[in-house]
């Protein structure tokens, strides 16, 4: 589950968790996002006192150099959801593409709940 990039000096491998972490941070920065949903793994790790920066974000390889990112979100009450989703998609795409030079095919947002 690694994205590879060949260089003159060798191979650069970027793990999917790295992209998930970038997406996690970028998504949390958007106003109106309450939080990114957690999966069982991150809940267990949090219970053990370890912080994770991936939540339940799923990064799926699509071909050799493109990926799909699936982000489950809880949004804050009172915000327009399509606006928030659009902003998160843009922010995540920009952040991941800028930092890793990997092309994002799709950023799928799943709104799982509304919080205050």
């Amino acid at each position: 589950m690694l994205t590879e990039d060949k260089d003159d000096l060798g191979v650069i491998k970027i793990h999917n968790n790295v992209m998930a972490s970038i997406a996690f941070i970028a998504a949390n920065e958007v106003e109106g996002v309450a939080r990114v949903c957690d999966d069982v793994r991150s809940l267990v790790l949090r219970g053990l006192g370890k912080k994770t920066l991936t939540g339940a974000i799923d990064v799926r390889q699509e071909g050799s150099d493109t990926v799909n990112i699936i982000i489950p979100l809880i949004v804050k009450y009172g915000y327009n959801i399509p606006d928030i989703a659009g902003k998160v998609q843009e922010r995540v795409r920009a952040a991941v593409e800028e930092t890793t030079d990997i092309t994002i095919k799709e950023v799928v947002i799943k709104i799982k709940g509304v919080e205050k």
Binding site: V75, I81, Q89, V107, I109, K110, G113, V114, K116
Partner: protein, 202 residues
């Protein structure tokens, strides 16, 4: 992967039970053999440990299977639209959350429950509310229907028609607690009785 595991688990269990039933029916296993196996499992320490471990594993696997199945059902209940950057799906539970929060903003509502379904005709919201007394039910329900429909269209950006059905389950009286608290606050506080010679030192 989890779906495959749970399907495999249930297939294995069903196949085992079927085989045992057939073996009993055709007298392939004698009663003594079954008894011996059970006695061995019951008395031998090591086999008891293995049986216990298998029991725990089976329980955990069955929980995982239930989670996978219900998770799949939940996953299907979504409203989806596509942006230039990708797809956006909104779970119906998020819509239910929003409806609840909207209704609790109104003073007239004491309790509210909402069930949201996405149908071909549009989004069907069924609400069960408990209202406080002194509320004009027809006016209030009309107001609530408009509020929910307009807010959901605004927040989710949905163009589909939104049908809001309200079922007033109960009308409760105005609570006495806040009134009593106010009364207590308004009561003149009794002057503290001073203890004679309180500050004196001998």
């Amino acid at each position: 992967m989890r779906t495959v595991l749970s399907v495999f688990f249930y297939t294995l269990i069903c196949a085992f039970l079927g085989a045992v039933a057939l073996a009993v029916a055709f007298h392939l296993i004698t009663f003594e053999q079954i008894y011996d196996i059970l006695v061995f499992l019951y008395t031998d320490a090591q086999s008891r440990l293995i049986t216990g471990g298998a029991g725990i594993l089976f329980i955990l696997l069955s929980f995982a299977a239930v989670q996978t199945i219900t998770g799949k059902i939940q996953r299907e209940k979504t409203i989806a639209f596509t942006n230039p950057n990708g797809q956006v799906t909104i779970t119906l539970s998020a819509v239910e959350d929003l409806v609840k929060r909207l209704s609790f903003q109104l003073r007239e509502i004491k309790d509210a429950r909402a069930v949201v379904k996405a149908t071909k005709k549009g989004i069907d919201i069924r609400m069960r509310v408990v209202l406080r007394a002194e509320t004009s039910v027809p006016d209030f329900t009309a107001k609530l229907q408009n509020l929910i429909a307009s807010k959901i269209q605004e927040v989710f950006g949905i163009d589909e028609p939104i049908i809001v059905r309200i079922h007033v389950a109960k009308i409760v009286g105005v609570e006495d607690k806040p009134r009593k608290k106010e009364e207590r606050r308004n009561e003149p506080q009794q002057e503290e009785i001073g203890v004679p010679y309180q500050g004196m030192k001998f």
